[in-house]
Every structure is written in C-alpha cells, then in structure tokens.
Amino acid sequence: MPEMNMVQAINDALRFEMQQDDRVVVLGEDVGKVGGVFRVTAGLFDEFGADRVIDTPLSEGGIIGTAVGMALYGLRPIPEIQFSDFIFPAYDQIVSEVAKYRYRSGGEFPCNMVIRTPVGGGIRGGHYHSQSPEAQFIHVAGLKVVCPSTAADAKGLLLASIRDPDPVLFFEPKRVYRAAKGEVPEGDYTVELGKANVIREGKSLTVISYGAMLYEAMDAAEKAAEHGIECEVIDLRTLWPLDIDTIIASVKKTGRVVIVHEAPRSCGLGGELVSLINEKAFLHLEAPPRRVTGFDTPFPYTLEMEYLPLSHRILPALTETANY
C-alpha cells in the first residue's frame, strides 16, 4: 500500500470516483486550475476538465444552492467550502434545502451531495480560518456528519460518503492535512459510515474524540498509561448518526468517560454524548463524564494553542476522571 497524507488520500478518493462515475462533479472557489488552496483537488482539473472541476463565483450560497439542483438532477456534486468558517453564507441552503429536501418531498427527491470543507484550528488562522462548526449541522435533522482523522479513513469515508444516498458534511481536519500520513489502500476502498474505531483498548476509562484532536487524546492516553491509567480511545469518524453501540459498550466497560473536541463546549457534540451516555449507561457511571474542549470564545490567533484542548489539557482530565 502506498503511503499518503490526508490531502493525497482525499485527492485519490476524488480521482478514483470521478473515473468510475461520471456523475461526480467538484465545484467551489479555486478548486480548478489551482487545485484548491490546500491543493486537495490538485490535478483534477487537468484530468477531468472544466465541466467536472468547476471554479465558481465567490458565493458559498451559490455553490450549495446550485449543487442542490445538480443533486436533484441526478449528479453527485461534491461542493468544496474553502474553510468551514465560510460555510455560513450557505447555511440556509444547507439546513432549509439540503437537509429537508428528501423528507419534505415525501421521498420524491433525494438530495445527496458531499460538502467537503477543511475544519479546525492550529494553522494560525484566527477567528475565521479555525472554527469547528459540526454541532451546528448535527442539530439539523437530515444531515450526516463525518470527520476522519487518518489518511486511510479520509479516503474510505469519502468514497462511502459520495455513494451514500444522504447528504454528508465532510469535515477535513486541516491541522493534520499533511501530518496524518499512513498507508492508504489503492483503488476502491470504503469505510462504512456510522462506525467508530476503537484505536486503543483499555479498561480504566473511555476517551472519545475525532479529527485533529484525536492525536492529542492519544498522546494524553499514552502519557496516562505511564501512570497506570489504561484508556480506551474511540475515534468517532462519523459524528452523526453516532456509533452508539461502540460508545455505550466501552462506557459500560470502563464506567468513566472523557470527551475531547476543539469546537466550543456549550451545546457542542460533547454535551450530546454526555446525555446519551446518561440515558443509556447511567448506572455504569463511576465518575462524571468530562468534556475537554475549545472554550466558549471566538477562536483566537496568538493564543490558539492555549485555546485548543491539547494533550496537556486532556491529561489532567484523564487522571482526575480515573481517580474520581
């Protein structure tokens, strides 16, 4: 298997599916000739031409609004939003049209597309090139939300998302775009949506994370192991609908849980996880579920590494929860 980073793996998935399925089109700002500001679509313009790799005017609402029409026609549009901070001009189309089209048409019109967008901080992007808005989509019925943490998962989840009959928000953790490197299967390769990955087994406590923070959670888990705390680390991969079975099985085993995400804490996915765990494993809980998250402030520039829930902030939560 070739080694790739996440950018290459996503590029590989796009190229593979575009070769297989001529309904697939990519559209967005700067996705064409220049291959995207992160070079994720590099080379696709040359291979598939301007009719399938489309540079659009500077309007996210226009990108998603027209992608809806393409999806209704039967294409498989893959719109790119340059940074997920800039998805909000398209928010109305996403929550009012994309999410509801199938349901409100009584099933006559599926509206599946994959909205790809880089997410998260750690690249010195400040307020508007760093945010993690996944909760703002999870709350909206009708959307699926995916966030890979490895190159192989990025490929496998993206191919699964493109073939999925429902619309998918595909968040790409840009902090690890190049750092998340590993072997990636060639050719056709899918990772089923809705399945989490237990990347470390342990009995002391369950750590749930995803995307770029997964690496921080793993780092903290390794350090905790030095203190005899064996964490079970779960990479959610699909953020919604969740792999509830894997989560609950783990929490029932450990009785303790720490959730890590860089999105702001309040009304984030962490809160939902805590509630679900309460509802389904209350009597197993031996310590209060803990959230280690981004703070409820706008994303800062200079102090971004203090804002992010990095390993040094996760570790105390692990030890305190384990020793509760």
């Binding site: 209704l72 294409l75 109305d92 009584g106």
Partner: protein, 383 residues
C-alpha cells in the same frame, strides 16, 4: 367570479405609483386589455381555449380553497388570484422535457402539466395520500412525474436550485430547460443574486420568471428596490431580460417560448419580469385592506387576465355564457369530487413522521419512533 363588462383602462391611482407600471412602453403586450390582438403571434383557437380553461380551472380551485380554509376544513391556502396569465402562459410554453421550479403560487401550472386534482387536494388536506405525506403546509407539493420540483417556504431558495438543475442538464448535454418562478420580493433574496450570477457565468438554460405582483405581503415594490424595473436587474449578471404584461397570457406564452428557444440554442438564461397584480391577500392569513392604497385593487380588477381572455374568446370563438357555465360546472364537479375523497382520507400514519429523514432510518430515529408509538396520542390527534 367577475363577469364580462365593457372595458375601461383604469385611472391612474395606486396602480400607477410605481415606475414598473404595466403600461410602460418597453412592456411586451400581444393582446390589449380589451381583448383585441395587437400583435398576432399565431395562436390557434384551440390553444386559446385551452389557455383560458387552464386559467379558469386555476381560479375556481383557488376560490374553493379559500372557502375551505375559511370553513376550517384546511389550514391554509396561498393562491394566484389575478396572476393566472403569468403562471399558465409561461407553463404552457414548456416542452415535455422541461422542468418547473415553483414558488408557492403555481398550483395552476402543476394542474396544467398533469398533477391530478386529487393529488393537489390531498396536499391541501395533508392527509395520508398527500404526495408530501402531510409534512408541509398546504400548497407545498412536488411532482416528479410531471417534472416539477418541491415547493419550499423560504423565499428564493428554488432560484439557485433551478440554476443548478439546468446547469447539470447542460453539462450532460441533456436538451432541457428549467423555468423557475418567484416574486418581486424574492429579487431581494441572496438566492436571486446567486442564481442569476451563476446562470450568467455558466450560461445555464434557465428561464427566470419574476411574477411582479406589486407586493411582498405588505411591502410595495418601491420599498423592495430602487431599480427602474425588475428586468433591469438582468444587466448585473449579463442575463438578457424582458418585461411583459403578465395579465396577457399570449404575451407571457410568447416571451417564455422565446426564452426557451434561446436556452435550447445554448444561448443561456433569460429573466422575464411579468407585471401582474395580487388581487387577493398574500394568503389566507393576510388582510390586504390594512396596507393597500384605496382603489388599487379595483383598478387591477379591470385588467383581470380572465376577463381579457373572455373578451378575446367572445370575439373569436363565440365563447358565450353557455360555454362559460358548462366549463365552470365541469371544474366545480371535479373539485368537489376531489374534496370529498380528501376529506375522507385519514391522516398520515404516525410512524411516517420518522421515515425518509434519511434513506434508511438510523438508530436514534428508530428509538424516537418507538418512543412515540408506545406512548399515548396527543389530544385531538387520535386516529
């Protein structure tokens, strides 16, 4: 229904207060308000009668739906009183393969294309047979079979959707065009801007039909834009535009046909401003007397598109009171039968509430469905 009377061009009044007035020189008109033809575009009598019948059907359904709402038998209706020519004339121009992306007033176009009266009525009732399964308000239907997308309440969203659909077809060399309807108010939406801009840049085969009916609920067009007309907005996007007398069904048919010809020839989109008037309130929830200048509606009643056609037909095909009465009766009969069936159809089954949010029901919705089914029914919602 208003009956035929001798025609008088209405006095300047509220009706003339806006620069986009229908009598302006650049407004295309084929048939004068008194029913005489100014410019023969070769419409045969059969077509003329078909157009009139479709408009009449639209109006009678409208009228009946308002009554049903007043009687508390349906929850809501939003109609097209006075705007029938804009809607029927444009839909009539379409070829089989073309698609419609409707706003919320175009049930007349859907009926014309073949949506059955029963299906429409079931939608007004939101019952178990409703094509959208009672999930949306009345008048929010869809009709894939007849190539009509889904009605959505948020103003304007269908405009960009229509552009994307047309664009996709063009990318696949599929020779269809898309007609999208929206109001004057919708030109202020983000969607109008995005739709027209993307259509212009990509020369998509889209026909934009702006029903300028003078009002966006209580907001008149001069508070909507300082543009000289709605058609003038095409310039900002390199999209050719035309203004048409929206109460002249022949003229609307003609400009839509022209636009479709351009679209099919790969010449891209056209923006049509159809100048018409909303003779009713915005919907059954609205009382227009609160804001409408006195005399305005009355002036436009004189320009009623159905009246105009009756004058024309009276001259051309001897359409008299007998023909009118029998046409009306047939429609009334059809509507009545549909109402009876709709009213006796149960509500959608409880479990359908959770179906179709996703293609397959995920665990959390299965759980919520089970929770609801296991519980007691809401007061007044028993089945």
């Amino acid at each position: 229904m208003t009956t035929v009377s001798s025609y008088q061009e209405p006095e300047a009044q509220g009706a003339e207060r806006r620069p986009d007035d229908v009598m302006a020189d650049d407004v295309i008109r084929v048939m004068a308000p008194d029913g005489t033809v100014i410019d023969d575009i070769g419409i045969d009598d059969e077509t003329a009668v078909a157009l009139y019948q479709a408009m009449l059907r639209t109006r009678i359904v409208d009228d009946r739906a308002v009554t049903l709402q007043r009687q508390g038998r349906i929850g809501f209706h939003i109609g097209s009183l006075g705007e029938e020519a804009s809607i029927i004339g444009s839909a009539f121009a379409l070829r089989d393969q073309d698609w419609i992306f409707p706003c919320y007033r175009e049930f007349g176009a859907a009926l014309l294309r073949g949506l059955s009266m029963q299906t429409y009525m079931d939608n007004l009732y939101g019952n178990a047979n409703d094509i959208v399964k009672g999930r949306q308000m009345p008048d929010h239907w869809c009709d894939r079979e007849h190539r009509i997308a889904s009605v959505s309440s948020p103003i304007g969203t269908q405009i960009t959707n229509a552009v994307g659909f047309a664009w996709a077809a063009a990318l696949k060399n599929d020779p269809l065009a898309v007609l999208v309807y929206f109001g004057d108010g919708a030109t202020s939406s983000n969607e109008f801007h995005n739709g027209l801009n993307f259509a212009g840049v990509n020369a998509t085969p889209t026909v934009f039909l702006c029903r300028n009916n003078g009002w966006a609920i209580s907001v008149p067009t001069d508070k909507q834009t300082a543009s000289e007309s709605f058609a003038a907005k095409g310039v900002a996007y390199g999209v050719p535009a035309v203004r048409v007398d929206g109460n002249d069904v022949f003229a609307v048919l003609k400009v839509t046909r022209d636009a479709l010809t351009r679209a099919s020839a790969g010449e891209g989109p056209t923006l049509i401003e159809a100048i018409t008037y909303r003779l009713s309130g915005h919907s059954t929830s609205d009382d227009p007397t609160r804001y409408r200048p006195e005399g305005e509606a009355e002036a436009w009643e004189q320009r009623d598109p159905l009246l105009r056609m009756r004058r024309y037909l009276a001259e051309r095909v001897n359409w008299g009171d007998a023909e009118q009465a029998s046409a009306e009766q047939a429609i009334h009969h059809e509507v009545k039968a549909a109402i009876e069936v709709s009213e006796n159809t149960p509500k959608p089954a409880l479990e359908t509430l959770f179906e179709g949010v996703y293609a397959e029901m995920p665990w959390h919705l299965r759980e919520q469905q089970a929770e609801l089914l296991a519980g007691t029914r809401a007061p007044g919602h028993g089945e």
